[in-house]
């Protein structure tokens, strides 16, 4: 079973990469981009076949390693 972990900078935490991307989009003439936040996606291929258990395992992995919950939030989606 595949799980996708979305890791994003928490609201209120400065995101310099997002800001730089926003400036670059502005420079390319894309008007009206009000905010950009840049995070990462981590795909896990899990042996687990039970969706609830797979999701719980991925969330545990996110808390322990994949995200630093001081500065990042995460969300798990099963694919």
């Amino acid at each position: 079973m595949k799980a996708r972990v979305y890791v994003m900078p928490k609201a209120g935490v400065l995101d310099p990469q997002g800001k730089a991307i926003s400036h670059a989009l502005d420079g390319l003439g894309f008007a009206g981009v009000q905010d950009v936040r840049a995070g990462k996606v981590i795909e896990l291929d899990l042996a687990e076949t039970d969706p609830a258990r797979a999701k719980a395992a991925a969330e545990d992995m996110a808390r322990k390693l994949l995200a630093n919950t001081v500065i990042e939030s995460f969300r798990v989606e099963l694919a």
Partner: protein, 231 residues
């Protein structure tokens, strides 16, 4: 003083720390690799700078999971002294030994330049040779040194006197211009509640000899030597 320096794949400046410790103690520290076990009877463990594991995932995140860090956590829990410089600071944060996070520098630029720090907490094993408010120069070399913590954590750090160093200008003022990486409240280094774990981004070990261009960083290592003079 019996000190150990831990290296990971991608560590650098470990020999600079070694030079600094040997200079003040006359004894060579133990050099350990991440697969080694921490020997007994240590006074100090140092995590040097560098780019351990290529900064994959987050700076310090991989090193924080390596087996020797379990020993370092146990050592700290028993009251051992731990110093983390630059990537070592990032590893201490990722290992949960110090609070907060280190984000990409606010400018998105790698900073390779000198900074000035003000000693906010004197009288610790890391800072006893300075007076509170003293300032000193230190080189920095990092891309992810932008310290962040939530307001409750910051207020606790400030309230308990656990901010060790702040970035300041030449007049000793904690201005925005002196805060090149964008750290919240100009924080350059912090301490654990028992004052025995210290992490900072700049490199005091790179100014411990006139041949290096100055001895501004020497008091940190003299403080440590003094703290463990009998050991």
């Amino acid at each position: 003083m019996k000190a150990a320096i831990i290296t990971f794949p991608g560590t650098n400046r470990e020999r600079d720390i070694r030079v600094a410790l040997k200079r003040v103690t006359g004894r060579d520290p133990v050099m350990l690799f991440h697969r080694d076990a921490l020997p007994a009877g240590l006074d100090l463990v140092v995590l040097p700078g560098g780019f351990s594991y290529g900064d994959y995932l987050r700076c310090g995140a991989m090193a924080a999971q390596s087996p020797i860090m379990r020993d370092v956590r146990d050592f700290a829990a028993r009251g051992g002294h731990v110093l983390g410089v630059c990537n070592g600071f990032q590893i201490l944060i990722e290992a949960g030994l110090l609070p907060g996070g280190l984000l990409r520098n606010a400018t998105l630029r790698f900073l390779s330049m000198d900074c000035r720090m003000r000693v906010e907490r004197a009288g610790t094993a890391f800072t006893s040779r300075w007076q509170k408010g003293a300032t000193f120069r230190a080189p920095m070399a990092h891309g992810d040194g932008n310290y962040f913590a939530d307001d409750a954590t910051l207020d606790r750090l400030e309230g308990e006197g656990l901010v060790a160093f702040r970035y300041v200008d030449d007049r000793g003022e904690a201005t925005a211009a002196a805060n090149r990486n964008g750290s919240v409240r100009n924080i350059a280094g912090i301490l654990s509640p028992n004052l025995r774990v210290c992490g900072l981004m700049p490199h005091p070990e790179d100014l411990v000899d006139d041949l290096m261009g100055g001895t501004d960083g020497l008091p940190m290592f003299e403080s440590l030597a003094e703290a463990f003079a009998t050991a």
